[in-house]
């Protein structure tokens, strides 16, 4: 796919236009990346495509190489990889808390101690997410504002 960038005047709205033969996975990935940069993620649920506001996401989990976005009411599947989402969302207070989970710190109600050097994050939805021992120092940094 070729790329073309055209500079526009400041008073004109920025937009991205894709010219393609078919809307395939590659195109969908590009769209998802651009939207995620704007504070939105794309996910599927019940065979429908949804735009999910980042502020509505509680956590993102990877299970068997599939990504799942958890909001208060729904779970969406995403094609984006966890490490990609981690990179995109780190400015928005999302933190890797285990090998397979990315947690939105703004949705955490409390942190509780757990056995085997872990902690438990209790979310405003009532769900609990495990914070692995390995990521506790990252959490400490993030809460101190060093992240």
């Amino acid at each position: 796919m070729q790329t073309k960038i055209t500079r526009i005047q400041r008073n004109q709205p920025e937009f991205l236009e894709i010219h393609c033969h078919t809307v395939n996975d590659e195109v969908r990935e590009i769209i998802a990346f651009v939207k995620s940069r704007q504070g939105q993620l794309t996910g599927t649920a019940d065979d429908r495509l949804y735009e999910i506001a980042v502020s509505d996401i509680f956590y993102i989990e990877s299970v068997d190489n599939k990504g799942f976005i958890y909001t208060k009411e729904k779970v969406y599947e995403t094609r984006q990889k966890l490490y990609e989402l981690e990179e995109i969302l780190k400015e928005k207070h999302f933190l890797r808390v285990s090998k397979s989970t990315l947690l939105n710190l703004m949705k955490v109600n409390a942190i509780k101690p757990a056995l085997n050097s872990r902690f438990i994050a209790v979310l405003y939805s009532g769900e609990q997410v495990v914070i692995s021992r390995k990521y506790v120092s990252e959490l400490r940094k993030a809460l101190k504002g060093d992240h």
Binding site: A110, N116, F119, S132, K134, V136, L143, K144
Partner: protein
């Protein structure tokens, strides 16, 4: 927990054990051998015993995330090793007579109490840390909203 944090927590455990061993020595000594006179070199005993009793806690260090079963198994191993170390280190006094079993029973009980107190102390420390995390989290959320 990083290796550095683990070592720091072991140092804390060491000094906590020193304190508890001193208390246990005073209580048990007062009951079993109230007339016994101690020398200055006996003051090193709590440090030596605490040092040797801290060593078994190294079995609780994991490079990878342990499962709950593995974690409990290691805690039990640590306790048994600690009991073994203490039993080997401390022998009953000569004049104890037929009370050898009672001596070892009391010693084993004292180790158990110290172990439970040390575990509770570690748990309380973790509880305080989680409370601190929650407070910092609330501050972060308030500043963002």
């Amino acid at each position: 927990m990083t290796f550095r944090e683990f070592i720091l927590s072991r140092v804390q455990l060491f000094f906590f054990l020193v304190t508890l061993i001193l208390a246990a020595s005073a209580i048990l000594g007062g009951i079993l051998m109230p007339e016994k006179e101690l020398h200055y070199y006996h003051l090193f005993s709590p440090f030596i015993i605490a040092g040797l009793c801290t060593l078994p806690s190294c079995v609780t260090y994991f490079r990878r995330e342990p499962t709950l079963k593995q974690y409990i198994f290691r805690l039990v191993t640590q306790f048994l090793l600690t009991e073994g170390v203490v039993m080997l280190l401390i022998s009953p006094p000569d004049n104890i007579g037929d009370n050898r079993m009672l001596f070892y029973f009391l010693l084993g009980g004292a180790v158990l109490i110290i172990y439970v107190l040390a575990t509770l102390m570690m748990w309380y420390q973790k509880y305080l840390q989680s409370r601190q995390f929650t407070q910092q989290l609330k501050k972060l959320q308030a500043s963002e909203n």
